[in-house]
């Protein structure tokens, strides 16, 4: 394989890993120290609940990441040269999963080791040694809904915006015999099918969105100092003890740019004798594809959806529920093709099953439920985030002791594993420095590691 092809392959693998993992890394040390929890005054979670737009900013902060991991990367980074004896694709994938913006405190053991194959006339076993750790016990799932940079403006309670939206989802799986053969080094056996399956969908659209937020309920306690310019909490329902309800809704029209999906499976079926005479292995591969694209087959798609949300405050307790992409569907005119591999002819046969077939794709909704309680200098918060591929829970607490903040938290990550976080911060007037230490499993091996995150906070 030519060098440039190898490097292109490496770049593609890394890019794919970046696409799926970059958003998982949190660079706001204050938020990370609190388990990554979302609240209405947390800028990172503003898009999680459209009703947050209506809530006064209060003591809202802005975080500026400090990429302290770049120093570590400069001193110790993997080689991208495939000719280098130290080249290790798993190191690069781990780098993609963890862009070197935070300081790595501990890493999982490097995936290494020799691969052993034993071949006999009726026996084949493959021992991938350490590489086995990179083969998950369940299907590889990757993707998400990505709302790219929104462009828009708002007037009073109304806003309009244009949001490029991408939805990607892919699920690749090994069947049980193949998984056992590769992960458990179980010998291959005769008359057995070893198969894989893949199901993927990708769609891109531009969402034209118009929204409105309301405050149907706002009742201050009798002793409130409403409008007090000297008290930053006077008009902040998070801290002024008000009973308040904010809600928002933003219907959107989707102009679908492209849609593509594939559902395929393939495998090999062994004969009576693994390496007997003749050709004892039968190969099967089939795939069903569906696509449409603007300017191409089927043209653009059209659909509707909405973001809705509400947040309720009662005696400094905050409870928010937000749903993004609720009921979001796009209608397409799709071309459907079936691709079947012929074992005897050693070639694929493609059959067009239909053109301009009506098809409605779905952009999966994301639900965010958050609760927070502020008690003077202390805040306790939690959230629950449910998306198409993952359900996450974040728990956090923050306590200010004068200029010093102490934080702790935990979160259930995308792999369902609980991680612990903690941090501290120093505030000097309108600026502060925050540090957070957190465990994570953002690596190919899905093993626990630890990182140190730093950021500046503007109060």
């Amino acid at each position: 394989m030519p060098n440039h092809c190898r490097r292109v392959a490496v770049v593609c693998v890394v890019a794919a890993a970046f696409a799926t993992s970059a958003q998982a890394q949190m660079l706001d040390a204050r938020r990370l120290g609190m388990g990554g929890v979302a609240t209405s005054d947390n800028g990172a979670s503003r898009t999680a609940n459209v009703a947050f737009r209506a809530v006064p900013a209060g003591r809202g902060t802005h975080s500026i990441p400090l990429p302290i991991g770049l120093i570590q990367y400069a001193n110790d980074h993997p080689t991208f040269d495939t000719d280098d004896p130290d080249f290790n694709i798993f190191k690069i994938l781990d780098l993609a999963s963890n862009p070197p913006l935070t300081l790595s405190l501990s890493k999982p053991d490097e995936v290494s080791g020799d691969i052993s194959i034993f071949v006999a006339r009726d026996s084949l076993s493959v021992d991938l040694d350490d590489v086995r750790r990179a083969i998950p016990e369940e299907a590889w799932k990757m993707g998400g809904v990505y709302h790219l940079m929104a462009i828009g403006f708002g007037v009073k309670n109304f806003f309009v915006q244009v949001v490029p939206t991408i939805h990607v989802r892919n699920e690749f799986d090994l069947d049980d015999p193949l998984r056992r053969a590769l992960r458990d080094a179980e010998p291959f056996t005769g008359n057995t099918r070893y198969g894989t399956s893949d199901e993927g969908v990708a769609q891109a659209a531009v969402a034209w969105q118009a929204g409105m937020t309301l405050r149907p309920l706002y009742r201050l306690p009798a002793d409130a100092n409403e409008g007090d310019q000297d008290d930053p909490s006077a008009d902040d329902p998070r801290r002024n003890g008000a009973t308040a309800f904010y809600m928002g809704a933003a219907p959107k029209y989707y102009w679908g740019l492209a849609y593509g999906s594939v559902r395929g499976q393939g495998g090999i079926t062994t004969g009576d004798t693994l390496f007997g005479s003749g050709d004892p292995v039968a190969i099967d591969m089939t795939a069903l594809t569906r696509h449409a694209a603007i300017g191409q087959d089927g043209g653009s798609g059209h659909g509707f959806g909405a973001d809705v949300g509400g947040v309720f405050f009662y005696k400094n307790l905050e409870l928010g529920v937000g749903v993004n992409d609720l009921g979001s569907e796009i209608d397409w005119k799709t071309t459907v093709k079936q691709h079947v591999y012929s074992d005897s002819l050693n070639e694929f046969t493609t059959t067009t099953l239909g053109k301009d077939i009506d098809f409605t794709s779905r952009i999966p909704a994301a639900l965010t439920v958050n609760v927070a309680k502020r008690m003077g200098s202390m805040m306790v918060a939690a959230d629950f985030v449910d998306t198409e591929l993952k359900t996450m829970v974040h728990l956090g607490v923050e306590r200010w002791l004068g200029m010093l903040a102490i934080r702790g938290g935990a979160y259930r990550d995308a792999n369902g594993r609980w991680q612990a976080t903690g941090g501290t911060g120093l505030r000097f007037g309108g600026i502060g420095v925050d540090l957070a230490v957190a465990t994570h499993s953002r690596n190919v091996e899905e093993e626990r590691a630890a990182e140190l995150c730093a950021s500046l906070t503007l109060y």
């Binding site: 194959i117 006339r121 991938l128 590489v131």
Partner: protein
């Protein structure tokens, strides 16, 4: 056999991904031999002769095609074991293993990969074994197909009776350690 190529050839790529690691390929060559060639009767060889050769087996064996294309062999070894169930006579000699590429006209025309001294006595079973490594062996074992020959050469000059018995190959296992060549 060739259908396994797609599967097997993926593995060096995995190995290549793991730094300076190796693909260790172990082939039970014995299992690929025709059972009729694994055990062979010899004799009766008259007493008083030197350099009597018995060609036990000469067979073309399919190994793993494509391995040579994606890997560089760093070492190879062949483990050999045989037993001689000798009924009559006594002799000394050599058990020789030949491995050449499949397009070689005569497997016995090349230098043997292994040359194991053998001494048989009447009514006894003699077991011999050895392990050999060589560049020629390494080159041969990554070929798609190879010819394997087994020859026994006896010296019966000290025997009082014709030498007769059965030779059985008990172990013929090749191990090739390769590095990536992508």
């Amino acid at each position: 056999m060739r259908r396994w190529v797609a599967v097997i050839l993926m593995l060096p790529f995995l190995a290549a991904g793991c730094g300076d690691r190796s693909l260790i390929l172990t082939v039970d060559v014995l299992s690929f031999l025709d059972p009729a060639d694994v055990s062979e009767a010899y004799g009766p060889i008259p007493a008083g002769l030197t350099g009597v050769s018995v060609d036990v087996a000469s067979e073309e064996v399919s190994l793993l095609p494509g391995v040579e294309d994606v890997t560089e062999v760093s070492s190879a070894k062949l483990e050999i074991g045989a037993s001689f169930d000798n009924t009559t006579g006594s002799a000394t000699g050599q058990l020789q293993i030949f491995i050449t590429s499949a397009d070689s006209a005569d497997v016995y025309s090349t230098a043997p990969i292994a040359d194991i001294p053998v001494s048989v006595t009447p009514g006894n079973v003699t077991n011999v074994s050895t392990e050999v490594t060589s560049d020629a062996l390494a080159e041969a074992l990554v070929q798609d197909k190879v010819k394997i020959g087994v020859r026994i050469t006896f010296d019966t000059s000290a025997s009082l009776a014709p030498v007769q018995g059965t030779e059985t190959i008990t172990l013929l296992r090749a191990t090739v350690i390769t590095k990536k060549k992508l």
